[in-house]
Symmetry: C2
Subunit: 469 residues, 2 copies
């Protein structure tokens, strides 16, 4: 029967429990509709199907529906107006709902210099949509199916080209696995390494406790390596027999900002070769380097001993949830297996869009533009410090979206506290220190100068200068 419920304006689910008599059906329908409104299943303002449509849908007489509607209008649950049909009354009790999303929670900071997020206002919306359109129209139908657990071949191919060109990574599409950001990659690697019998991962003295916790949750202890002005002391790896895995940020130590010294890069790779070790290279902001000699990926030195992890979270936006791993071949197979045999985690549309975004050159253009903007902010930060807080030294500023501001000993907590009174969100270095790290305590702020939108940057910088000693 063509003219059925399938042609209604909206789908409406009702449990009509009444008996088969006309009055029983009418009562059943009335009760069911009332309950749907009362319980919030039909929201205020919702337009109901016409009585004719609903009658066909339910296989009952049209008058029965009209009568039920009239009952509920009389009761105040529904409203009927010429030309706009029957609707759920606005006075009906609404479904308990959360408040609409807003930019900033009440009582939240006025200025945000927390590290870890790029300037979200500069996300290239128009260019991204252009790429999405081209990518979706170019995609074969089966791209919309379950797909390859490694991720779409278009994106893996584009990344292989890009990473080898821009970051010196030895990449081929077969050893790339797309993941939902760095964290997803780390979770997958953690479970694979635990399954291989690993119990411990060497990490850096400074880093994100969130990452350490994910490893611990996977059953892997984290033990910090020493740190000094040449970066993380990788020589120490050799003296720890139980450790076969190291998580490092070689291009730009997070959050301290130094690149790993060339001797220590070599030492790390030598250790991995000698001991059968594996290095996890977190290249979180490798695109953003302001000095003239870019630091290439460690992975280029030995693709069989280093897992390269990259992300679109800094270069585009964390909300994309797109990251990538370049893996030694045996590990790639195990990671795919850990993903559960299905591409569980990344929507293909964003993958296809990013592939188009990279191959069309829009990614390079966006990164270059962002780099100039961030570098300008970095220069303004350095200039402002020189003028307003000459005692404070900014380090780790050759690259990335954040700087470390060294404070006089013993002042970190009071500066962070003063910032929060000024409604300036900023983080002290203490929160980035591994609990077991054997490094002298240092007082410092980690300032994410990439975080605010352009219009808020000058105000944020001014607020920062006010709280510095």
């Amino acid at each position: 029967m063509e003219d059925s419920w399938a042609t209604l304006g909206v789908d409406l689910h009702l449990e009509t429990g009444g008996e088969a008599t006309r009055s029983g059906v009418r009562k059943g329908l009335t009760d069911a509709l009332r309950e749907a409104v009362r319980g919030g299943r039909l929201a205020p303002g919702t337009r109901l199907p016409s009585s004719r449509s609903l009658a066909v849908d339910l296989g009952i007489a049209r008058n029965t529906v009209a009568d039920a509607y009239a009952d509920l209008v009389a009761e105040g649950w529904l409203t009927a107006r010429q030309g706009s049909g029957t609707r759920v009354a606005e006075r009906a009790v609404p479904r308990p709902a959360e408040p609409a999303p807003r930019r900033r929670a009440v009582g939240g900071p006025t200025y945000d210099l927390m590290p870890g997020t790029p300037d979200l206002a500069s996300f290239p919306r128009a260019e991204w949509l252009k790429a999405a359109r081209r990518a979706l129209y170019a995609a074969p139908n089966d791209a919309l199916g379950h797909g390859d657990p490694r991720g779409r071949i278009e994106l893996r191919t584009a990344l292989a080209d890009y990473l080898s060109r821009a970051r010196g990574v030895h990449a081929d599409p077969g050893r790339i696995v797309i993941c939902a950001g760095f964290v997803h990659g780390l979770v997958l690697l953690g479970s694979v390494l635990r399954a291989r019998g690993r119990r411990e991962v060497a990490v850096e003295s400074y880093g994100l406790d969130f990452h350490w916790n994910l490893l611990e949750r996977a059953g892997l202890r984290t033990s910090p390596l020493p740190f000094d002005e040449l970066g993380t002391s990788t020589a120490e790896l050799g003296s720890r027999a139980a450790v076969k895995v190291a998580l490092l940020t070689p291009a730009h130590q997070f959050p301290m900002g130094v690149p790993l010294h060339p001797d220590r890069r070599a030492a790390a790779v030598d250790w991995a070769r000698r001991e059968g070790g594996l290095i996890l290279e977190d290249d979180y902001d490798g695109e953003f380097r302001y000095d003239r000699q870019p630091v290439g990926a460690l992975q280029g030195l030995d693709p069989d001993r280093v897992v390269y992890l990259g992300t679109a979270s800094k270069s585009l936006a964390p909300g994309l949830r797109l990251g990538w791993m370049v893996l030694p071949a045996p590990l790639a197979a195990e990671v795919v297996e850990a993903k559960g045999g299905a591409d569980l985690n990344c929507g293909v549309l964003d993958q296809l869009t990013l592939a188009e975004f990279i191959t069309s050159g829009a990614y390079d253009r966006h990164v270059r533009g962002a780099r100039l903007r961030y570098r300008r902010r970095r220069d303004q930060l350095v200039a402002a410090l020189a003028e307003r807080a000459p005692e404070v030294r900014a380090t780790g500023i050759a690259a990335g979206l954040h700087a470390v501001l060294e404070l006089p000993p013993g002042t970190e907590r009071s500066v962070v506290q003063a910032a929060s009174w000024q409604r300036l969100a900023v983080q002290g270095l203490a929160g980035f220190r591994h609990p077991a790290a054997r490094v002298p305590e240092r007082d410092a702020l980690v300032v994410g100068y990439g975080t605010p939108p352009d219009h808020a940057w000058a105000g944020a910088l001014e607020a920062l200068c006010r709280v510095l000693p």
Copy 2:
């Protein structure tokens, strides 16, 4: 310095190991470029930066770069042509690459009637892009940040309205968690239930071994409930003291196609209330019902005892990797915790787009159109069987995108084999039977009539009729 490497047309990473003499630098650059081309890091056809730009970038003399380029042109690695700049020669050895994606692997089937995938050719590309544009321009900047691990509030609100209206689900946005399809939801639930001390999940006698395996991998045994023409025998739940969790497909048993009998729906909910049990309701194709009385979600009977799991994989496309769970409040908190405290898995752009797609009415329109098309195919399948294979009975055809064709005893394997000779992909029922199921063996095909694109449907149906007894 404004005019630096940051302004180049492409990023190029080189390790120039040469000494500081001009000839040393030239040799270092030449070697590095040659190695980059030979190793595939610079793909054939890639345009190199101008010698001026690269010189600024590397902080060396322009002539040094020009000489290095000239050397490599002479060696055949690069080509230089007036007006198109210097490029990597097409003859250069390319990076080992996978073949380009194609619609169908060589030797793959000509016709595909495997269940589990909708007609991907009918994905509403234009409407989806329209919604993506509106959604992305309307999104606040912070929507592109790390976000709520439950998923975007816009999508959870839209789903709460839609699910209560169309599926009779008691939903409020605070208890909805967006996940990367049903499988991701099942993985999250599996780990939470295991952490709660559960050891066993009652499943149906017929289902997907892929789902059973995911539960087993989470440390949960699966034990099948009996099955007959009224659906899964939920009365049996009461006799299994160790079982506190049941995974069911109440609206449309997969793959058998029967709805769970009302008495058995009630028995399942009564069991859950009495024993503190939990029902996982897999509502994989609830949108597609061709009979007149839609079967509402079991969750509506007791939202504190039933987890509702829905997905966009059947109504739109599996490649979106978008699903949703409506959870009892305590479980919602545990599932969010299991997600790792960060929204690890779903890109916000598709979430915002789906929210806009639903609230604009495009989702209802798409589902109604698809329902009519699938029902037409279902009718054509039934008519063809009546004419060409009157011995074969189609069951489970009141809803969904697949039918079960009952075959004469002992013929299933030979029919599947005959189909593969005809290059028709179709699945026998045996593969959907739980290894421990105590149900009589039945010979049948599970035919996914929703799978082929329109142009291939008639041919697929003809091929199917040819192999039936």
